[in-house]
């Protein structure tokens, strides 16, 4: 075990875990931030997507020892009042079916829009390719990203 200092959603935390622990499990088990989901553990589904210094990362595949100084953002900290344009667009389109993949979808899309505020439909599709939705709510996910991008 080792001590790690982390900055998550603007707050500092100290955890004592094995260095190989994926940040996903630190968030969920140690910090009680369960909005970040476990889907595959091998960077194949996107359910666990967080931001490291504003860029989407698969938290299941980033050991805590590699996080370093990077500031971590999770779905809980994406916006202060739950009103990020993507969260609002998700509400408007009533996107979720089971809802399990959606935090990861939103976090991935937020990273896309922060770098490319007006993506083409094709750019949306390729950026979102790594995020699985087993309920296949893909049409609404795309429409909601489009709405958020067009409103920005």
């Amino acid at each position: 075990m080792a001590i790690f200092n982390l900055k998550v959603n603007g707050e500092n935390h100290q955890v004592d875990v094995d260095p190989d622990t994926p940040i996903l499990w630190v968030l969920r088990d140690n910090l009680d931030l369960v909005g970040t989901k476990f889907g595959c553990g091998i960077a194949q589904c996107g359910a666990c997507t967080i931001h490291l210094d504003g860029t989407a990362a698969r938290s299941c595949s980033v050991p805590i020892s590699q996080v370093g100084e990077a500031s971590v953002t999770t779905i809980e900290g994406l916006s202060e009042k739950g009103d990020h344009p993507l969260q609002e667009a998700w509400r408007e389109h009533d996107v979720p079916q089971c809802g399990y993949c959606q935090a990861g979808q939103i976090m991935n899309a937020a990273s896309l829009l922060s770098k490319n505020p007006s993506p083409s439909d094709q750019e949306i599709e390729s950026a979102m390719y790594g995020n699985l939705c087993r309920c296949t709510s893909y049409l609404k996910i795309k429409a909601a990203i489009r709405t958020a991008a067009d409103q920005a």
Binding site: G41, I42, Y138
Partner: protein, 707 residues
């Protein structure tokens, strides 16, 4: 308006219950910005019946009785109650009801039956409460209740008005009426309108909702090592490395499984990986090649007891000018719910407490009680929102594991499946094969013969479904191959593949006869309508209705340059669906660009949620027809995670247009019925585009088409 006898049981609800007064606030109106949407939850509620309680400020809490797996019943079932109660939807808070089979009927998510079977009792629960509120107001005013009306939470009459909130305390004490009035569907104000998912706000802000999110102090995480092959048994194991893992607290064996207990999920996963088991592989270890060969032989074996046998199929084939025979083959499929299986259990001397994602809480309660030799009354189950079900969560194996482990270690425990555990310890959609034969004489189909064979399938066919009753000579047979691989229901069981096979075959026969595929189906329906042969297991006119609607909405007879269409229609789970696929060629390979769907599911309770279900079913159907496959080698599943198992992804998804038949009939189900026709529609469209037929799923393996 109809008058019905009430069957709502008041039970012990003649009391005022005070909830915690911790100043909880809740965002309940998702259309507004979050700041506007908060309203304090009242601390005092008046229970009118098991389904609902009303606070003095007029807010209503409605219990959603059935498990929520993404089919959105947690929104649509309370909508039905709110409609008959006649309140504003904005004043409604929805709570997931616990398992309570005295109060609620059929708390199951399966077979697309929640709405269909809940419809009457939900309406009655709302209408009964409304009548009790009216009766209480009448009593207070000293007037006859028949002169009073109620709408949107306000009772009026006699020149007076009182809100539900103001009279709720009295209403909780009036007798349950013996008869209540139900609304005429034309007066519906909530049913038929678009309402957003009641958990939407929690989902998009990452609040705890799912089974995997549930935790209590002192809980241990358990990751279980299960036999790697179906048919393998545990001989012995060495857990010395596992016990070295930081956070691992214990290792226990139960049956052929080994549970690692740890203080974090990661420690439990590492502990599981560090186990050194020895397996006994002397049992029956089945491979896909064995299933294939055995089922192919079964297809050529006459069955002693046909499922249906009209006319004289043998003669029809003997006298035929031509016989068309085609065989279709389906692989096993895992469910792959996005949230892997998991369950919480806390077994103590006093009680057995279970929390988690389960489609069948009642069945699970009785199995857990039996397993632990406890009374059912000692076992409680709280249902969390489920990160998908698709049939996998009908089987409470994971809940039983949690209960057994908790009882062994005397600690609250949460069993968590890794994705690898989830994919390799499934209750799979079993493989199946179908041989279709049609006899052609004088340009007509004179006989129809279907033989099905499936793994662990009591009946691989749907013998009274289309085209039954429209052919004089009609023979349906079914064979079972018993296997030790665990199989079960998978979204639209049997028909998820049978529909593809049947609708592909019908397309081929129509083309062989030189007939338009839609007209060919309509002619068969005409026969079933005017002069049916034997039992008709479907409503012919409803079926024709969706076929015509899909043809109309897709401009079926119109040719568009470069666009190739395929037709398919199927009846399942009491709902009629027809689909047209539009395919274009892109870079030499076919691409499905659009699906046009027509659905008759009776009254559409919540069009917004209904569209989600239809789109989800159609794309799920396309995705698995295109890419889904799980094979076995000596009992070992050959795909373990998403790097080895292809699911449909965002760029592979067509547009899906949804058209509902307008109807005042009671609603049927929507979670499954849009899936079965999808595979046939795209296969027929790809045939139109390329001349190639598919006889096996997944289609992607067809190199001639996909390179």
């Amino acid at each position: 308006m109809s008058i019905v006898k009430t069957t709502v049981d008041r039970r012990s609800f003649l009391k005022v219950s005070a909830l915690s007064t911790g100043g909880i606030v809740l965002g309940f109106n998702w259309a507004c910005t979050p700041q506007e949407a908060v309203r304090a939850i009242p601390s005092e509620w008046f229970d009118v019946n098991a389904f609902l309680k009303i606070a003095a400020n007029g807010m209503v809490t409605i219990m959603s009785p059935n498990p929520e797996i993404g089919q959105n019943v947690k929104t649509s079932m309370p909508m039905i109650i709110a409609e008959e109660l006649d309140v504003k939807w904005e004043d409604v808070i929805v709570e997931q009801a616990p398992l309570d089979t005295d109060a609620f009927k059929r708390q199951v998510a399966g077979g697309s039956q929640s709405i269909r079977q809940g419809w009457s009792s939900l309406r009655m629960a709302g209408a009964t409460a409304k009548q009790m509120l009216i009766n209480a107001a009448a009593k207070q005013w000293g007037v006859d209740p028949s002169g009073l009306t109620a709408s949107e939470g306000v009772i009026s009459g006699n020149g007076k008005k009182i809100t539900y909130g103001e009279i709720a305390a009295e209403a909780a004490n009036v007798p349950v009426p013996e008869e209540v009035k139900l609304k005429d569907p034309k007066d519906f104000k909530i049913i038929g309108t678009e309402r957003r998912n009641v958990d939407l706000n929690k989902i998009v802000t990452g609040q705890p909702l799912f089974g995997l999110d549930h935790k209590v102090d002192g809980m241990l995480y358990s990751v279980v090592l299960r036999p790697p092959a179906f048919g393998a048994k545990l001989k012995s194991f060495d857990d010395s490395d596992t016990r070295q893992v930081n956070g691992v607290q214990d290792v226990v064996q139960f049956g052929d499984k080994i549970a690692v207990l740890a203080t974090s999920t990661w420690a439990a996963i590492k502990g599981q990986r560090a186990l050194k088991p020895e397996w006994d592989l002397s049992g029956q270890l089945e491979s896909t090649s064995y299933h294939d060969e055995t089922m192919r032989n079964l297809l050529d074996t006459p069955s002693e007891e046909p499922k249906r046998n009209d006319g004289n199929v043998k003669r029809a084939f003997a006298e035929a000018d031509k016989v068309i025979e085609r065989t279709y083959e389906a692989p096993f499929l895992p469910h792959n719910t996005m949230e892997p299986m998991n369950f919480f259990a806390n077994v103590t001397a006093e009680k057995v407490e279970l929390v988690g994602p389960i489609q069948t809480p009642e069945w699970t309660r009785s199995r857990v009680a039996k397993l632990l030799e406890r009374e059912e009354s000692e076992v409680s189950i709280d249902m969390t929102r489920m990160g998908g079900g698709f049939g996998r969560r009908l089987y409470g194996d994971f809940a039983l594991e949690a209960a057994e482990i908790s009882s062994m270690i005397n600690s609250p425990v949460k069993v968590v499946f890794t994705r690898e555990d989830d994919m390799t310890a499934g209750t799979y959609r079993p493989g199946s094969k179908y041989k279709f034969r049609a006899s052609i004489k004088d340009g007509q189909m004179t006989g129809y013969h279907l033989v099905g064979a499936g793994v662990n399938m009591r009946n691989a066919t749907r013998e009274n479904n289309f085209p039954a009753a429209s052919l004089d000579n009609y023979l349906i047979e079914s064979h079972n191959l018993q296997s030790n691989i665990t199989t079960g229901a998978w979204r639209a069981p049997i028909t998820n593949f049978l529909a593809f096979a049947e609708q592909s075959f019908i397309d081929e026969v129509a083309i062989e006869l030189g007939q338009d595929q839609v007209q060919f189906r309509l002619d068969l329906f005409e026969r079933a309508l005017s002069n049916p042969v034997g039992e008709v297991g479907y409503d012919v006119e409803k079926f024709m209705g969706v076929v015509k609607l899909a043809a109309e909405k897709s401009n079926w007879t119109e040719k568009k340059d470069g666009v190739y269409k395929g037709f398919s229609a199927y009846y399942s789970h009491n709902t009629y669906v027809a689909e047209v696929a539009e395919v274009v060629m892109s870079g030499g390979t076919p691409k499905v660009q659009k699906m046009i769907t027509a659905i008759d599911c009776g009254i559409v309770v919540n069009p917004m949620g209904a569209i989600n279900q239809v789109q989800g079913g159609v794309i799920d159907g396309i995705g698995h027809a295109m890419y889904g496959e799980l094979t076995f080698e000596a009992g070992v599943p050959q795909s373990k995670n998403f790097d080895q198992y292809r699911l449909i992804r965002t760029s592979e998804v067509p547009d899906v247009e949804v058209h509902f038949v307008e109807s005042n009939n009671d609603p049927t189900g929507l979670g499954e019925p849009s899936l079965p026709p999808a595979g046939g529609a795209i296969a027929n469209a790809i045939h139109a585009a390329t001349g190639q037929r598919f006889y096996q799923q997944p289609f992607i393996k067809e190199k001639v088409v996909f390179g």
